[in-house]
C-alpha cells in the first residue's frame, strides 16, 4: 500500500514536512488531523506526488515512486483518486462529462465509458443530474460529482483533502456516509485530511496527529460512525450542545 519513509519537504528555508515516516494499511480509513500549517495537506499531496519530497521515499505497492517521471507518474496517479475542499469541477462540462474526463485521461475506450460513468453517478446518488452543469448544483452535490470522478477509475486509494470543510454539517454527514460506503463496498483505502475533529472521529480507524510538520502521534480509535439520523437544524443543535468541533489547535 502507501508508505512514506523519512519524507521531508522544504519551501525555501521553511520545513513544511520534517522526516516523516508513515504506513497506510490496505483497506483502512486513515485520518490526518492538525492545526493550520501543520503540514497535513502537504503530506497527503506527497502520496500522489502533487508535492515531491526533497528527501525520503514515497512507496506504493512496494515500489518507490518519487523518482518516477512523466507517464509512469501519471499512471500511478490514475490509480489514486483525489478529492479537494474546493471540488475543482470544470464549469463548462456537464456532470457526466466531468466524471467521464477521468476515463478519457486513462484512455478507456469510449464505448465502455457511459456505463462506468453512470455506475459512479449512481453510487453517489446523482444519476438524475448527469446533464446538469456544476453551477446548477449545491456544494454537497458538487463534492459528490468530484467523488464520482475520483472513483470512476476504480482506484485502490482515495485521497481526501479537507473534503467537507466548505460544507454545512448535514451535507458533511452525507459526504462522510458516501466515503464510508466507498471504503466498505468498493474496498478503497481512504486517507482523509481534516481540521474538523468530528469528521476524523466519525470515519477513521487510525489517526495521524500532526504538529509543525512532524507526526505528534498516531492513534488507533474506534470510529464513532456517521450520524445519519439527524438532519438540518438538528445537526446544528447537536453540535452546539456538544460544544461543536473540537479543534486540536
Amino acid at each position: 500500500m502507501i508508505s512514506l519513509q523519512n519524507v521531508t519537504k522544504r519551501y525555501g528555508a521553511f520545513k513544511a514536512i520534517q522526516s516523516i515516516s508513515l504506513n497506510i494499511k490496505p483497506g483502512e480509513i486513515h485520518g490526518i488531523i492538525g492545526s493550520s500549517g501543520a503540514g497535513k495537506s502537504t503530506l497527503l499531496r506527497m502520496m500522489n506526488l502533487l508535492e515531491k519530497p526533497d528527501d525520503g521515499d514515497v512507496i506504493i505497492n512496494n515500489k518507490k515512486i518519487n523518482h518516477l517521471k512523466g507517464k509512469e507518474i501519471r499512471n500511478i496517479r490514475q490509480s489514486l483518486g483525489m478529492i479537494f475542499q474546493g471540488f475543482h469541477l470544470v464549469g463548462n462540462k456537464t456532470v457526466f462529462d466531468n466524471v467521464a474526463v477521468s476515463l478519457e485521461i486513462a484512455k478507456i475506450a469510449k464505448k465502455n465509458r457511459t456505463e462506468r460513468v453512470m455506475e459512479s453517478l449512481r453510487f453517489v446518488g446523482l444519476e438524475a443530474y448527469k446533464d446538469k452543469y456544476p453551477r446548477q448544483l449545491s456544494g454537497g452535490q458538487k463534492q459528490r460529482v468530484a467523488i464520482a470522478r475520483a472513483i470512476v477509475n476504480n482506484p485502490s486509494v482515495l485521497l481526501c483533502d479537507e473534503p467537507t470543510s466548505s460544507l454545512d454539517p448535514t451535507t458533511t454527514m452525507e459526504i462522510l456516509e458516501v466515503l464510508k460506503q466507498i471504503n466498505q463496498q468498493l474496498n478503497v483505502t481512504i486517507i482523509i485530511v481534516s481540521h474538523e475533529m468530528e469528521v476524523i472521529r466519525s470515519l477513521s480507524e487510525r489517526v495521524t496527529v500532526m504538529e509543525d510538520g512532524q507526526i505528534y502521534e498516531v492513534v488507533e480509535i474506534e470510529p464513532t460512525g456517521v450520524n445519519k439520523s439527524k438532519k438540518g437544524a438538528a445537526t446544528f443543535v447537536e453540535q452546539l450542545k456538544s460544544g461543536g468541533d473540537s479543534n486540536p489547535s
Binding site: 469541477l89 470544470v90 468530484a146 470522478r149
Partner: protein, 224 residues
C-alpha cells in the same frame, strides 16, 4: 440596383466590393494566423509562467519579451520595418498578399497575449485536479484549459478581429488596399467626404456584426 443605396455608393460599388474582399483577405489570414500560431504561443506562455506546469523562466522571459516588442511597435512602423523580410518571404513588399504578412505577425502577438490572460482566469484548482487524475500536458490543455476558458477565448478573438480590421485600414501604405485605404484614397484625398462617411458606416456595421456574434457565441458556450 437597390434604390435605397446612396448614389455615391452605387457609383463606386465595384471598387467598394473589391476593397471589402482585400480587407477580408488581410483580416481572414490574420485570424487564421492568430488561431494557428497565436493560440499555441499564448498557451505556451501561460504554461511557462512561474508556478505553472512547464515553468521555465528563460523560455517565458524570451517569449514574453518578443510578444511585448511586437505589440509595442506602432503598427505603421512595423509594416515599414518588415518590408525587407516581407520581400524575402513573399517575393514582393507591395500588394494585398504582401500586406497580409505584417498583419499576421501583429495578429499572432496580439492574440497570444490575450490567450495567456484568458488562461490565467482558469482556477488553479481545476489544473490541480487534472494533474491528480494523471492528465498529461496535452490532456490539461485540451480537456481542461480550453474547455474552461472557451468563452474568454472567443471574446479575445472578437476583440482581436476588430483590432485587425483597424490595422488593415492603413495597409494602403504598402499597396495592400482594403476598405480603409479606399476611404482615404477616394473619400479623403478626392474630397468626397460623403463617400468617406458611408465607408466608415460600412466599417462600423461590420464591427457591430463581429462584436454581436462574438458576444452571443461566448454567452452561449459559457456554462459556468
Amino acid at each position: 440596383m437597390i434604390p435605397i443605396l446612396p448614389e455615391v455608393l452605387v457609383e463606386y460599388q465595384s471598387e467598394i466590393w473589391e476593397s471589402i474582399v482585400e480587407s477580408s483577405i488581410m483580416v481572414g489570414f490574420s485570424v487564421l494566423a492568430a488561431l494557428l500560431v497565436g493560440l499555441p504561443i499564448g498557451t505556451f506562455l501561460f504554461l511557462c509562467r512561474k508556478g505553472q506546469l512547464l515553468e521555465n523562466r528563460l523560455v517565458f522571459s524570451s517569449l514574453n519579451l518578443l510578444v511585448n516588442i511586437i505589440r509595442s511597435f506602432p503598427f505603421l512602423l512595423l509594416v515599414i520595418f518588415m518590408i525587407p523580410f516581407t520581400r524575402f518571404v513573399m517575393g514582393t513588399a507591395i500588394g494585398t498578399a504582401a500586406a497580409t504578412l505584417p498583419m499576421m505577425v501583429i495578429a499572432i502577438a496580439h492574440y497570444s497575449r490575450l490567450v495567456e490572460q484568458s488562461l490565467l482566469d482558469v482556477p488553479k484548482g481545476v489544473i490541480q485536479a487534472a494533474v491528480s487524475m494523471g492528465a498529461s500536458v496535452k490532456d490539461i490543455i485540451f480537456k481542461f484549459l480550453y474547455v474552461e476558458s472557451r468563452s474568454a477565448l472567443v471574446l479575445s478573438m472578437t476583440t482581436s478581429t476588430i483590432s485587425f480590421i483597424s490595422y488593415s485600414t492603413i495597409m494602403g501604405v504598402v499597396g495592400g488596399g482594403g476598405i480603409g485605404d479606399f476611404a482615404i484614397r477616394y473619400g479623403y484625398l478626392q474630397y468626397r467626404t460623403d463617400l468617406m462617411v458611408y465607408i466608415i458606416i460600412i466599417i462600423v456595421i461590420f464591427v457591430q456584426i463581429i462584436q454581436y456574434s462574438g458576444i452571443t457565441l461566448a454567452r452561449k458556450i459559457d456554462k459556468r
